[in-house]
Symmetry: D2
């Protein structure tokens, strides 16, 4: 029988750094197992080997959290966006928990079950209806006995509060993470106020994930921390940002960038960008530090390497990596060997190789959020009429840009 | 018993498009299984599940060739660059062939065994010595009965000729691919002349791989084809380029770019760039079309989707992808649904999100190639003195840039 | 005897648009008559034909204000920065007024005399001392009977207040313009508060000039206007921005950009940028609209053309320009003729032709302002010791950037 | 009576550097005296003070050649492009010669009369007709006794030969300069062959002007020199490039760039770029070194400062400039003083301040040259039908870019 692992709150209370994992949706889309558009995780059932392998890579990279791949695995989401396999949310969630547990057992990692924003909320369903969806997912997580729970990727703090309230009934530790930046949630609630509300709802760890680049997310969490402290409350902090540079985003984040989701490549962070991110997050007082869309295993490894001293150990995967590029000493070409040092990589400003492209884009800003008819979800495929409507809006947006 | 698959030459003779796979070294480095610097493939022995998974992803993406992961798996390379596990080249090559065969059997793919340039050649060893290295690798490929052979990643046509001559003794079909661009090999031999020499040495398929971006590689193969035709010879053509934009390269390719190998992210091609590449390669008359460093499964899938009409079928992995982004019709946000069409993605010029970076770099140009003392390989780690020498050269290069 | 011209306040009270001129210091530096570093206007005495010609060009371009070229023409400035000709401030100012009057008489323009920030203030001289400097300049302006007075290019509102108080004693209309952006003056006083203080000191027109690009300056004046209105006061508004794009500036403006003052070329605004600026300034309620460093006559003409309807006439110089490029209809090449229309130029995003340069810089931020010893002015040339000090600070700044 | 000045050929024979002037058309367009589109020089008659002032500025900057402002001053050009003042070519040319002579007398400069390509040639008029146009201009130059003659801005070497043959009849020294780059003239004649033909036609100085940036022009002249030397001939060499970076041009030069002529600002060279240009031109063996469109007086001064040692003196205008920025030692702000040194400016890569713009453009390539109906010139304004035709061609070009 393996020794019992320290729980998430015990670790954070002890001041330990907890390394999160990266975003499965984007990584598995590139590997061929997730469909961009619906973004749903049927792969836990149809291609478990692919999901398991990605977990293993993050474990090797240093992750202490195996987040079950349950993103958007609520029945209301699965129904209304083209899922034709008739796999239920419960089936996906169960398989996801099993895969996460299997790999977590191979190292120093905990299993987290997660819920995220629902089409029902955007379509203005009642609190009772929305909470019922979270409860259904929670039942699986309890059955599978995950180590803790995460309510993540919420654009409206109100829905996140509902999720936390549901998850809290389980008695498990609850973390809550919003998809917001320094401008606050989609209804204009500031990061500080969001955090206070989440803590009051019962979250022990609060933070942000997705939608913005690492430095922007760290800034938002810093504002959350200031809000929580000002309110005389206590919490731990988490951050799981994009691995894309997004200096040109508005409050809706990378969704509004013209490059989302199929032309974000030039924005991908290097491992050296990740060192800066990890250091900054640590300085600000965040201790649960991971990633979201765009993070590949080597990004997480870079976070773990930057914080190796604080953690007291290097991640397993560093047996295939020289800290700050030192393994380049073994490269054939002498001029590449000359790059085997921190000063080289730390100051390099990488070129895009795209002289016909600009460095910033103009985000679309439709100003459409919860309650707007364009967001009402339905099971049927988008009609031609609906498409003409959105194309007209897009064209209109361009001509005024 | 499965039906016998058509061989590589039969396919090419029939005018079929053969989709290659992507580069394992870079993909597995990001996943944590290959060490940048030595770049050697011990993972076939130590982490077979990771190698197998990557093969599977390329198969799903539409690859017709499972290239055994044997890059740099020659004993002279394994010895002199920090390989401490005492795994022999033969062990690696055997494991690599088994993994490739296992996955190839799951679909419409052939197994290829490959050899690449050797430290021995760069260190001016004799033709006999160098050929002995290739022979040792070939012995494994014959024992494992691969479907065909590839001599790839050669910077000097002379060494490639030697490789082809050795491989040719097997009776298996031989393809030969140089790591060169339109300027020719590192001794200044033009692509046309290189191709003629390789065909005369016995290669039935000739082309280029690695070192340059897709359009540049296609241009080089076009020059090869012109050379072969002018000489009154016949051959098939292959191309397996980088998935990085490299308009600023000199004749040594991306190795000389300051971003190599750890800051190439902003140069990564989008799937839409791949559509253009696949179409252009096809137009030029190339029929073996694949990828090298930087290619992820979704890049190969884009190649396969672009050529789906010519191939008569979509790749298996397209069940998780809408051609030209059509699956975005199922996205929650209407402005993302507005992007579910070819015209949108085809003309988008993606921003880098890096306004403090330039779009082109100045490549280093040390002008060091076979025969130069700085390239003499040795088993020992780089000494402090050697490092000081290369750092001085690097500094000198910068001040004159 | 010519008809008496309407004064500046009468024009503004009548709701007329008053077009300013461009910055003489930068324009004459490029023509060879001003020395960058000291930036002093001895050319009014030594090369009057060059100064007169530039006035004429701005008059042709549509300027309604001939600002006497008296920038930095205070004795304390002339003394301490390498002026070796022993020309006094009074001599320069008198010559400047005569030149401005001569050209103003040739068209619909008024003559303005101006004072700007003094080394004495930066060196912490007393209010009495600083005011004495302004008084000395004012005496010349009164003797030459200028039409109105401008206190401009102040980084600290306190010194501008002193200037306004002195100028106000003359009975002439007084305009006051700070070299600040939306962040406020160098002591952190907000634009709104600055404006209120200037109005209370007696300025009838308030605004900003220099240091930032047009849109940033318009934004700052908008904040001034909001402040003045909130305080229940009344004023007219002016803006005379740079003709350089400065999105990467901090509160000190373009002085802190690494490109200042000798590599700003890639940032120069096109005439089409000027159309947007003029329209935006007008919309915000600004009626005295001109330019500062970087403005060439064609920039002012573009402002005048954009506002031709509001002014009721085109500028004289438009006889050599087709509105929105229509004169290109007479170009030899048909593809250039195709550019003779507004939609073409309005949406063009001009390339830099510099793929090895970034699009944004990191400004230096020494945080040195009034009261800091590094700003104490002295007559002697910079000593070697002082230079070593600043070079060390510069190096330090770079390594932390 | 002033001492007789050394002629152009005596200077070049003696190995002296002769500094040219900059392009009047672009400089005076920005000042309000030339209309872009027709580009004709009526200003010599209507605004002589503006033309005289620009000559003076170039003289101060170090120019040894006052080129009479006679660009496009042929009657066939004046007639067919909107010149409504009924000023004849002879009137313009006479006034231009007088202005050039007046200013040349004030310093060490010679007067040159010039002819350039004609609409008649593009419209396929006969050699006799075209030569008659040159002869008419030459008659004025002889009457005004210019010091030497320049045939410049020819896109087809054949027309330039005709011009040289006419000018040669005068007995004056003849220089010939084509508007071509390394790809050769618009009919594909290589720079080397062009130069040989011009020398054989009678030109004593050959080179290129306009259409490309300095380094590209120097490269083209280098090819000319190689051609002339290979043919066993002798000549002197001249170069008068653009002051715009044009790495993205095709063979037609900057005319084809989307930014021509009203959005070239981001491409303007800095004075430091000019130092590199002057040094490179000198190294290649060019001794007549000047500028064309985009050159302002400070650009020529930078050329003269870079070659001050070779010329044995600084230009007069350097009394208002510190070599390599040294006058910044007298700047108020210490961090600007820190920029008063060569290493700072020599290595600075200036940002564009335009993150929404790319660094390179795609030139239009209509492939229309002499003989194409779209180039047939007529006196009437462009018709609506003609405009629709060119707009269609432009749109078509864009969609395939």
């Amino acid at each position: 029988m393996p020794p019992v692992k320290k729980g998430i709150i015990e670790r954070l209370n002890a001041g330990e750094v907890v390394i999160g994992d990266g975003g499965f949706v984007f990584a598995l889309e590139k590997r061929g197992y997730v469909k961009a558009g619906p973004w749903t995780p049927e792969a836990t059932v149809t291609h478990p080997e692919a999901v398991r392998q990605l977990h293993r890579e993050f474990l090797r990279a240093g992750s202490n959290v195996m987040q079950a791949f349950t993103f958007y695995a609520s029945d209301d989401k699965l129904e209304n966006r083209g899922q034709t396999l008739k796999i239920t949310g419960a089936q996906i969630n169960e398989a996801a928990c099993d895969l996460a547990r299997e790999v977590a057992s191979e190292g120093d990692a905990l299993v987290a079950g997660g819920v995220s924003q629902t089409p029902s909320y955007l379509s203005c369903k009642s609190e009772t209806d929305v909470k019922a969806i979270f409860k259904k997912q929670l039942d699986v997580f309890m059955k599978k006995n995950v180590d803790f729970l995460i309510a993540e990727y919420f654009e409206h703090v109100e829905e996140a509060e509902w999720a936390v309230q549901v998850l809290k009934t389980s008695g498990k530790p609850v973390a809550a993470s919003l998809a917001i930046g320094p401008e606050g949630d989609m209804h204009g609630v500031s990061p500080g106020e969001c955090a206070v509300r989440l803590v009051k709802a019962g979250a022990q760890v609060v933070g942000v994930n997705c939608h913005f680049d690492p430095m922007t997310c760290v800034e938002a969490v810093k504002m959350m921390k200031a809000g929580v402290e000002k309110a005389g409350l206590k919490a731990h902090y988490m951050v799981q940002p994009l691995a894309f540079h997004t200096p040109d985003c508005n409050c809706q984040g990378f969704i509004d960038l013209p490059e989302f989701p199929f032309a974000l490549e030039p924005r991908i962070l290097t491992r050296w960008d990740m060192h800066k991110y990890a250091r900054e997050a640590y300085k600000v007082g965040i201790r649960f530090i991971g990633g979201c869309c765009g993070f590949e295993p080597y990004h997480i490894r870079a976070v773990a390497e930057e914080l190796a001293t604080e953690k007291g150990k290097m991640p397993p995967g560093s047996d295939k990596h020289g800290m700050w590029g030192t393994a380049l000493e073994m490269h054939t070409k002498p001029w590449v060997r000359a790059r085997s040092r921190r000063e080289y990589w730390e100051h390099l400003k990488p070129a895009s190789g795209r002289p016909h492209c600009a460095s910033l884009s103009t985000p679309e800003g439709w100003g459409v959020t919860k309650g707007h008819t364009d967001l009402l979800q339905h099971k049927e495929a988008t009609t031609t009429q609906e498409m003409q409507h959105v194309l007209q809006m897009q064209k209109k947006g361009k001509s005024t840009a």
